[in-house]
Symmetry: C2
């Protein structure tokens, strides 16, 4: 188990693209849906992720905000594909770009499919108040906005946010 | 992934106790509660089990009856203890007795705590219509009765079945 401290930001502009070190395709779904979490019938998300030839099961406590318990276990790729197809309620797909600024890794997720247009940058920190670089492309912080949780993006994809808020 | 074909029975009498080969203590809880499954917000149970010094994460499709998709992964004992304490909504505890009859293994679960008094025998089969021994202690089949699911025994323990049915 680890405690994950993660802050999430929108992107102010596109200049991060010039400093991408590598990118990978990620598909992920959830065995516990956003609806179960909202209804209070689950205290954790259970995520299935496929990234390249690797696959992982991830358990994260559902506490809105920055600090959470996190557990992660590798699983066979064939299991992940079956779990995503049969037991998950939809999935999100994204390209994850790795950008390092002054020794700090930013993971920039560029969503595709129903969430196309959404790009968020995440930075993992050793403590809640740890300092970290603020490159010019880092925009507004959305760590405390549940709409940006991947589990919620399956049910309420970014492309439909505007019409749903009407 | 495996497909699990399992039939579950009550016990007609106590004579199975004379042929127990070994017994182990099991504690298990669920990251997906029975309520989430009933509400249709999850297609699988996600179980955390501790048995002796070992621990496992288990994912099972929720289809009432005999045949289900099943995935199981070993996890560190320390993770299991934290998951059971922090992220599961209660747990069941039981002594699992191993009884082999004519080469077929029966796992006889003798529940403790809020489910004390409940004993069920499970047999895993290679196909739905596979023949298996029927020792005199094997009672009524309950494979299709969801009350006997371990995930449901947390929320509705055996000791309260009578009062709840009034």
């Amino acid at each position: 188990m680890g405690v994950e401290i993660e802050r999430k930001f929108l992107l102010a502009n596109d200049s991060w693209r010039d400093v991408v070190q590598r990118s990978e395709h990620i598909a992920q779904g959830y065995l516990v849906s956003a609806a179960a979490i909202r209804a209070g019938t689950a205290r954790s998300s259970v995520r299935v992720r496929r990234s390249g030839d690797g696959a992982w099961l991830n358990i994260k406590s559902v506490t809105l905000g920055i600090e959470r318990q996190e557990y992660e276990y590798p699983i066979p790729l064939v299991d992940a594909l079956q779990l995503l197809a049969d037991l998950c309620d939809g999935s999100v797909e994204k390209i994850r770009h790795h950008v390092v600024v002054d020794g700090t890794l930013f993971e920039i997720d560029e969503f595709t499919g129903a969430n196309v247009g959404l790009i968020v940058a995440e930075v993992e920190l050793p403590s809640i108040d740890a300092a970290f670089p603020r490159p010019s492309w880092l925009g507004r912080e959305v760590s405390n906005d549940a709409r940006y949780y991947n589990v919620n993006l399956i049910e309420h994809p970014f492309a439909r946010w505007e019409e749903e808020s009407c």
